[in-house]
Symmetry: C2
Subunit: 225 residues, 2 copies
């Protein structure tokens, strides 16, 4: 457990070929058997709360690190740090997303050779983060029930690039007008292979299946299945 989180001030990338940079980072992490997950969502959809639930399930069986990206504050890294998992805070200097070179500035601060899983919490934003390959092995995104079931119609790219979609805050499905079958259909139309799981970070519902998704993907990444 850390008393104070490390805050890394990320420098804006000067490289103009992000895809190439992302591929290079992905290969490096693959050779180290480190699975990097890029987690995206709107502000307030529950990224940090979901990460805490995932850590509860997995921290005894994997070596995990967390990178929390935000424009300002370090409250997310502090929350994660209190769970006993190493967390660093990345400050993006106002930038609305992370690209591969920015992600690597965080990765360099973690001892990835000794980590099985790194979770990157991207800046809360449904637009820009979807446009930049971070070098992650997989992308996940969270849609929370209060945001509404029309989000795949308005932010199609985010749902297209996500390998895993968590529909969070399902404990308040009765309170909001949210047609969960319609939203799944809209996601599948954009991205037929996305895995869609219903969760509630408040009640812990659904996180057994999320943990299974991580176990399976980390194994595949290491060539074990």
């Amino acid at each position: 457990m850390m008393d104070q989180v490390r805050i890394i001030e990320i420098q804006k990338s000067v490289l103009d070929n992000n895809d190439q940079e992302a591929e290079r980072l992905r290969k490096k992490l693959k050779s180290e058997k480190t699975f990097l997950l890029n987690l995206m969502s709107s502000p307030g959809a529950g990224k940090t709360s979901c990460i805490l639930r995932i850590l509860e399930k997995l921290k005894e069986e994997m070596r995990i690190g967390v990178m929390e990206a935000d424009i300002d504050s370090s409250i997310d890294a502090e929350r994660v740090g209190r769970s006993g998992v190493e967390a660093i805070q990345l400050h993006t200097g106002g930038m609305c997303h992370l690209d591969a070179a920015m992600t690597e500035q965080g990765i360099e601060q973690l001892d990835t050779e000794n980590l099985d899983l790194v979770i990157l919490e991207n800046v809360g934003n449904l637009v820009c983060p979807a446009e930049f390959d971070t070098g992650a092995a997989k992308n996940a995104m969270i849609l929370s029930v209060p945001e509404g079931d029309d989000k795949p119609l308005k932010y199609p790219l985010m749902f297209t690039v996500a390998d895993l979609v968590l529909i969070n805050k399902i404990d308040c499905l009765d309170y909001f007008e949210f047609d969960i079958e319609a939203v799944k259909e809209r996601i599948r139309r954009l991205n037929p292979s996305a895995v869609i799981l219903e969760v509630s970070a408040r009640t812990n519902e659904g996180f057994d299946l999320v943990a299974d998704w991580f176990r399976e993907n980390v194994k595949q990444w290491n060539g074990e299945s």
Copy 2:
């Protein structure tokens, strides 16, 4: 009432001096006595629902137009159009915000000389829209209760540029951990002059005060008070 909404495909700006362009647009609208409000928030905070409540209060006493900006879909402009108020849909071509030149492409499609108030619903995003002056007379932003009370800490610029902050979905204050006094204090620390109003687009609570804010600001814009 329109059967089909007009969709305007916005072209990316080529101008490099957005502040100058914004000032020019603001002067033009001032001379036409048209008050342009730039409304921003996260995806799903309730921008369109709040606009519909504002239109209910004001559409009989002012001539109003609405511009709905989204990356894709035209569902918001259709919803507003059904209220009987003229609404156009702006497609941003993937762009995460509107600047002044992009805003003007929408303005040119409205007969602003005959409008007292134009509401621009910006792209759902707490980061990029805060960085670009659209040429609006005033900025408003919506923070919804399910997003959490930490948002001013993480997205300070958005709260700094907002003249009006609506705290929406207060009907579900009991359901979420959201310290409304803490959030007001965080906003005031960034922006002491912001007007902060509590509303619920679902129950219509608080919109009398929102309508008063518009009446007063439109009057001031026209030099009548």
